[in-house]
């Protein structure tokens, strides 16, 4: 059974159709790249998947549960984790509080599994080498550090499906390597990952499969090797009127 399946999903906002009949499914443990030009609806699709936008039509299933009208907080509790394009870290809170607030939001049974919450917080910060900054405000971190922290806390809070929105955006080239390694870690742990990314080499390196979105429609899907030379992809990314990314 797929961990996520999306069927005939459409979204119209202000009489503009932003998602058109999107259908796909994701198996447990798969890493899937979601690519497409700017404004093609990738972030919007994530907003629908995490429950912030209600689709105009279509259904979504997480495992065997219909989540189409489940609230964002409830989806998070079911195991859907979101990493935001513009950082989901709370800059006014300390690093420690940033992790704590995520772990505390877990359903009770899951929180019990963590054992000591204090150790879990420390473990999370250790994972990304930030425990010596535990009491600092997160606003003082670099983009790369924030991204690492956000992914680590999502991992530590037991999420099964990761929605990563441009995890290397706003991250220095040096830190990008570390972010990529951490995503590799997710894959090793058998997590399912949906990742929006512009960097095609990066995508083909870590993804099992790629979905190409254009003007709100899935126009192409397949293994990175298969689609790399597809005419459609070339057109979208390098065509005359395509927005450069």
């Amino acid at each position: 059974m797929p961990i996520l399946s999306v069927t005939h999903l459409s979204l119209t906002l202000n009489s503009q159709q932003i998602l058109k009949n999107v259908t796909f499914s994701v198996e447990q443990g798969e890493v899937i790249g979601l690519i497409g030009p700017n404004g093609s609806g990738k972030t919007t699709l994530f907003n629908v998947l995490s429950g912030f936008l209600k689709p105009t039509s279509g259904v979504m299933h997480f495992r065997d549960a219909d989540i189409t009208s489940v609230s964002p907080a409830q989806r998070a509790r079911l195991g859907i984790g979101r990493v935001f394009q513009n950082f989901g870290i709370f800059r006014e809170m300390t690093l420690e509080e940033n992790v704590l607030v995520a772990l505390e939001a877990l359903p009770k049974e899951q929180r019990m599994l963590l054992g000591s919450i204090k150790d879990a917080v420390k473990g999370t910060l250790d994972m990304v080498g930030l425990s010596h900054h535990a009491k600092k405000k997160a606003g003082s971190l670099s983009g790369g550090q924030m991204r690492l922290l956000e992914i680590a806390r999502t991992l530590k809070s037991g999420k099964e499906l990761f929605l990563l929105d441009e995890p290397t955006a706003g991250v220095s080239p040096k830190m990008t390597r570390q972010v990529a390694d951490l995503i590799g870690e997710l894959k090793k742990e058998g997590k399912t990952v949906l990742i929006i990314e512009h960097d095609l080499p990066f995508i083909s390196q870590i993804c099992d499969r790629v979905l190409v979105l254009d003007v709100g429609e899935v126009v192409l899907s397949g293994a990175p090797r298969e689609i790399k030379h597809d005419k459609k992809l070339q057109e979208i990314y390098f065509g005359a009127d395509a927005a450069p990314y």
Binding site: Q74, F90, L106
Partner: protein, 293 residues
């Protein structure tokens, strides 16, 4: 203008202590909701009004302080939940406007339902709880309540609820994506504020032996707002210091050789200027930049 009755005959020191002890709990409650949570709830004085009238109308009718307190708490809870519900139905700015409107509506009801509330005359001859009738014992009683509330808020600041309220304030979507329920956290914040308002208003009219509607005019809210902003928004110690300093200032103004017709507006103007300065100084941190996703 509010709070310009003849001072009860008691040492000025007890008066200061009592005034601060009565004001502080709701100040801390509002610091939690508005300072930490950035929730534009501009109707706390509306909750105060219904809590105060609920308390003392019940007291007058039954002669029981306990029943009066219960009635005040119930009224405060009911209207806090109303404001919480509004906050879920409206966006942030909408709530700001709507909460003022609800407050004005509540106030109009209190003023005009004269058969029940005696309207602009207020409720006179309000007794104090029998065991705290003297100036000193009343100061002790209110200080006791205030200390308990203060300890509660110092504890609250380190709880999960405080972190969730902060997280929601900084990025609502980001918080929800972690599994934080806005309804749960915000209802708790509104309810806590409501309880502090019920507590303050249980003592306030007793202290002056009078429940007068002029104490629930809009300037009462300006004072609440000003102290929250002046005391570093969201910080409990900041709110405590600001409450003490501004209460001293407010009470100190009595010693200026002006008639009360001048002192009232003067005080309001002074507070307006302090509010302006505090907002200006904290303009970057009062409201964090709207987060994009």
């Amino acid at each position: 203008m509010p709070r310009f009755y003849n001072l009860p005959e008691m040492p000025f020191f007890f008066h200061l202590i009592t005034v601060i002890a009565i004001a502080l709990p709701a100040q801390l409650g509002y610091t939690f909701v508005f300072g930490r949570g950035k929730i534009l709830h501009f109707g706390p004085i509306g909750v105060s009004t219904v809590a105060a009238y609920g308390t003392f109308l019940t007291l007058n009718a039954t002669g029981s302080f306990l029943l009066g307190l219960c009635a005040g708490v119930l009224m405060a809870l009911a209207f806090s939940l109303l404001f919480a519900w509004l906050s879920f139905r409206l966006d942030s700015d909408g709530l700001g406007i709507m909460s003022i409107a609800v407050y004005l509506a509540l106030f109009a009801v209190v003023l005009n339902w004269t058969s029940l509330t005696r309207g602009a005359l207020g409720l006179p001859r309000i007794p104090r709880v029998p065991f705290a009738d003297s100036a000193m014992s009343f100061a002790l009683l209110t200080t006791g309540a205030c200390v308990l509330w203060t300890l509660f808020f110092l504890w609250l600041d380190r709880t999960k609820l405080a972190r969730q309220v902060s997280a929601l304030a900084e990025g609502e979507w980001h918080a929800k994506a972690l599994g934080i329920s806005r309804a749960g956290a915000h209802i708790a914040a509104f309810v806590i504020l409501g309880l502090t308002l019920a507590s303050d208003n249980f003592f306030y009219a007793q202290y002056y032996h009078l429940l007068h509607p002029s104490d629930y005019y809009f300037p009462a809210f300006v004072s609440l707002l000003m102290i929250t902003v002046a005391g570093k928004p969201g910080s409990t110690p900041g709110a405590i210091i600001a409450t003490i300093l501004l209460s001293l200032l407010k009470e100190g103004l009595r010693f200026l050789p002006f008639p009360s017709a001048v002192l009232g507006p003067l005080r309001l103007m002074l507070f307006g200027i302090i509010l302006l300065a505090a907002v200006w100084i904290q303009r970057d941190t009062l409201f964090p930049k709207k987060r994009t996703i």
